[in-house]
């Protein structure tokens, strides 16, 4: 497994924890999840800051067509 795949898996697990779901369908959008709310949003921003040293605006997060696209952008940016 290449290093980016591993990073990707880690990030997906962290997002699943934030959304409190066992398995995350990365082809979905954040807003497709019923669990996505303002508190989950804050957790996501905190995660980006603490683990990936980056910031994103609400609009930018929601502009991704899928959670997969979001994750790829985060890993690339790191």
């Amino acid at each position: 497994m290449n290093i980016n795949n591993k990073k990707m898996e880690e990030l997906i697990q962290k997002l699943a924890d934030i959304l409190e779901v066992d398995e995350l369908d990365i082809n979905k959008k954040f807003t497709d999840y019923e669990e996505w709310d303002s508190l989950a949003g804050l957790s996501l921003i905190a995660l980006l800051d603490s683990d990936y040293n980056m910031t994103m605006k609400n609009k930018e997060v929601l502009a991704f067509d899928s959670i997969k696209d979001f994750c790829e952008a985060v890993i690339k940016n790191r």
């Binding site: 303002s38 804050l42 800051d49 910031t55 609400n58």
Partner: protein, 360 residues
């Protein structure tokens, strides 16, 4: 670079007033949210707050000032200035500072002004007030800061509570310096905003039509917030401001006894403290009982959480106010046992201003 340092000013006293009426955070107060009240409180750190149907920021600051002036035994004629910081003034115009000058019975030889700032407002107001005193031109100045009853009726956001505070400043050549680092990013003007009611979008019948804003029904004279954007602003800007402050003034965060942060919400403040690597034991919170009280939050936290500690020995404090504007300010100052911290003032619903009422 907005670094400022002032000599010859001591913080002579602090007081805070809140409505007597307490509102517990329950399912009703968080509206149609998907999460439970318990989850909300645990995450945001707010369990109850003080609210009122009648009391304005002017009222709360009046009662806080009334108590502090009595406790300090200051002569009213000696008070040279009032600086009033709020986003919810008593009237659209005139300035509330003038109404309080009259209600308190201060001399007409009084410098009085309003400053329209929120979460960063106490630090900005302190910088203004301290600059008036530092030169020796003024000897005694009152800084008032807070937010309470809103401009228009709407459901209360559980994040916010009402409070008015007074900080008394006095000319004293033996005082430790008071230092500041201030910043502004107006490109984030709409991260926290009341769209209508200013000259840009005038008040109209349409202003009160309810619209769906992120799943909540709101009118346009109601504050709206891009929570995630404010959150990322806070956790990045505040640590940077502390770092710049420490570099510029050649000090370390660790040299301060307490770090008092604007009480934004627990998740945000905890994230900031973690980034600062500052001992959490020395970061007091008042959020749990009073919620986010805008420009009142830093002095309210000192009054309710640090009164005993500051009465024991001299304390070096660093603080940061940050939020709406977007605007932020970091300041350091000393509170010693000579500084009088009044007991929290609780105001009845009929404590409103009965003098300055406009009858049609």
């Amino acid at each position: 670079m907005a670094f400022l340092g002032f000599k010859n000013v001591r913080i002579a006293g602090l007081s805070a007033a809140v409505p007597k009426k307490c509102s517990i955070i329950d399912q009703n107060s968080i509206g149609g949210a998907r999460y439970s009240a318990e989850e909300y409180s645990e995450s945001v750190g707010i369990y109850q707050r003080r609210v009122s149907d009648t009391l304005t920021t002017g009222d709360l600051c009046y009662w806080a000032a009334d108590r502090l002036i009595a406790d300090l035994d200051w002569e009213k004629k000696e008070i040279d200035a009032i600086i009033f910081v709020s986003l919810s003034p008593d009237f659209m115009q005139p300035a509330t500072a003038g109404l309080i000058q009259d209600r308190l019975g201060l001399t007409k030889e009084c410098f009085a002004e309003d400053i329209l700032l929120g979460c960063s407002g106490w630090v900005y107001g302190l910088c203004n007030a301290v600059s008036l005193v530092s030169s020796g031109n003024m000897k005694k100045v009152l800084l008032m800061a807070g937010d309470a009853k809103f401009r228009a009726k709407h459901a209360l956001d559980p994040l916010f509570g009402f409070a008015g505070t007074v900080t008394a400043l006095e000319y004293d050549e033996s005082a430790d310096p008071i230092r500041f680092h201030m910043g502004t990013d107006g490109s984030g003007f709409d991260a926290l905003i009341i769209p209508d009611g200013g000259a840009r979008h005038q008040l109209s019948v349409d202003s009160f039509k309810l619209e769906n804003v992120d799943g909540k029904l709101m009118h346009r004279v109601q504050g709206r917030m891009k929570g995630m954007d404010v959150f990322s602003f806070g956790i990045t800007t505040v640590p940077k401001s502390f770092k710049k402050f420490c570099e510029h003034f050649d000090t370390t965060l660790d040299s301060f006894d307490y770090c008092v942060l604007h009480q934004a919400n627990k998740k945000m403040n905890d994230a900031i403290v973690k980034k600062l690597k500052f001992d959490p034991q020395r970061v007091p919170y008042s959020l749990h009982d009073f919620a986010n009280t805008s420009s009142a939050s830093i002095p309210l936290t000192i009054v309710t959480q640090l009164k005993c500690a500051c009465a024991e020995s001299k304390k070096n404090i660093i603080c940061c106010g940050f939020g709406i504007g977007l605007s932020w300010g970091t300041a350091s100052f000393v509170i010693d046992p000579l500084c009088h911290i009044s007991d929290l003032v609780e105001v009845d619903e009929d404590g409103d201003d009965k003098i300055h009422v406009v009858y049609v």
